[in-house]
């Protein structure tokens, strides 16, 4: 599915749903009454011209399109002027009435849903999957959308700030429970944290107009910790390096990725140098640019284990 194509001749939308009740799932979306379906199709400017169903699905031939309704899946394929994505929200609402929820189990589905919710003036959109050296599950998925005509004249220029997101796996076992040193990452921040039972930890820090946040899932076999913070181009260049090192030192991950989203800042260049002394070797670096949102640089690292 073309996540960002509004110019294509043919568009295809596939929505997957899931539900708890076996009865809800058995016939599922096929229970959406025809009048409701017609109203949804009216929203996307097409009508049913013919239809047939069997034990497995209902198939509708529409003006310029086709619609297939399975118990837990809807497929719409359209050409011409049909505004496909406008069907997402009403379909999700009808499904909810039947006890079904949208299964956003893939990035294209999530993007489709997001796009279905956005107003038309927010037309500058981009979706991108940025790869790392690791498995597909360690890719960085980005979706941005903005109104290119909107001029933001309040507050500091967005390009003065950047966001750093660190995702860490294969954490040091001892550190997962002790979490010593977390308070030292940004000593000036006001901390608000919560320790979950039996394990897990979340923390928010606020420092002036900037936030930072940590989430730890220490389960054996799939330990994970994330750290996110906001920095400014007017900060001391060493600050970000210090912060990165502190985080890596606290969690001692076997593998990690660092994503930097910024306007024009070159802060991403400092990441690899900051982590190298801790034995974290850079394995990949991917860059992509997003309209109005800035540049995302996604780098992955692995620890050189002794």
């Amino acid at each position: 599915m073309a996540a960002s194509g509004f110019e294509g001749f043919e568009k295809r939308l596939e929505l997957h749903f899931t539900g708890d009740e076996p009865a809800a799932v058995r016939m599922g979306l096929r229970r959406i009454d025809f009048e409701s379906l017609e109203r949804v199709l009216h929203e996307v400017q097409c009508t049913v011209v013919s239809a047939v169903g069997n034990a497995h699905l209902d198939a509708y031939v529409l003006s310029e399109s086709s619609l297939f309704v399975y118990p837990t899946k809807i497929v719409i394929k359209t050409c011409g002027t049909t505004q496909l994505l406008k069907s997402v929200r009403p379909l999700v609402a009808h499904a909810r009435d039947l006890g079904l929820t949208l299964c956003l189990c893939s990035f294209p589905e999530e993007v489709a849903y997001l796009e279905g919710c956005l107003p038309t003036n927010v037309c500058s959109r981009k979706a991108s999957i940025m790869r790392s050296h690791m498995a597909a599950s360690h890719s960085w998925h980005v979706f941005t959308a903005c109104d290119p005509d909107l001029v933001m004249d309040k507050g500091p220029a967005p390009e003065d700030f950047y966001t750093v997101e660190m995702c860490m796996t294969e954490l040091d076992r001892g550190q997962m429970t002790a979490l010593t040193g977390i308070g030292e990452i940004n000593p000036g921040a006001l901390i608000c944290d919560f320790a979950f039972d039996p394990c897990g930890y979340s923390m928010n820090g606020i420092d002036g107009d900037r936030y930072s946040t940590i989430h730890v899932t220490p389960e054996e076999g799939f330990s994970y910790a994330s750290y996110e913070c906001v920095g400014s181009v007017y900060d001391d260049g060493d600050d970000i390096a210090r912060m990165l090192r502190k985080v890596a030192w606290v969690f001692r991950p076997g593998a990690m990725s660092v994503s930097v989203t910024s306007g024009s800042s070159q802060v991403w260049t400092r990441v690899a140098n900051a982590l190298e002394p801790l034995g974290l070797k850079r394995r990949s670096c991917a860059t992509d640019q997003f309209p109005e949102a800035g540049t995302v640089v996604f780098q992955s690292f692995t620890a050189r284990r002794v």
């Binding site: 009865a23 058995r26 229970r31 025809f34 379906l37 013919s50 239809a51 047939v52």
Partner: protein, 138 residues
């Protein structure tokens, strides 16, 4: 076809549909094979055209056609319209080799003369008109 499906549904069963409970509809629904057999045999002995609407309560296209079928039944008062739920009378559905819904089987003197598979309003009307005209001349 899965007769267990409509009982799990909780959705209105065939005999709960609007056409048989709120409005007087010329479409007669059948809920038992013996009753259907009686009716079929009765019509067989006449020269009357019968349209059998095979539908399922869980099938969207069937629900889509309901108003059109009711209207057609009212319009063509000399044509017999019967409705069969494929879960309720699955043996009859099998007998008529119904694979998809809605399926409209046009029958005269007990023999199939035409069939429409799918919610095709115009085609159904056209064929009913055609066989109805033939009926008048026979």
């Amino acid at each position: 076809m899965g007769s267990y499906l409509s009982s799990l549904l909780g959705a209105p069963a065939a005999d709960g549909s609007p056409e048989s409970s709120s409005e007087p509809s010329r479409v007669q629904a059948f809920h038992s094979t013996p009753r259907w057999q009686l009716h079929f045999n009765k019509v067989k002995d006449t020269s009357q055209l019968m349209v059998i609407d095979f539908a399922a309560s869980w099938c969207g296209p069937c629900r889509m056609m309901e108003p059109a079928v009711s209207a057609m039944a009212s319009k063509f008062a000399d044509v017999e319209f019967a409705k069969i739920d494929v879960d309720e009378l699955s043996d009859v559905a099998r007998e008529f080799s119904v694979q998809a819904m809605p399926t409209f089987v046009l029958v005269k003197k007990g023999k199939e003369v035409d069939r429409i598979v799918g919610a095709k309003k115009d085609e159904l009307e056209r064929k009913v008109q055609k066989h109805r005209a033939l009926m008048a001349s026979s």
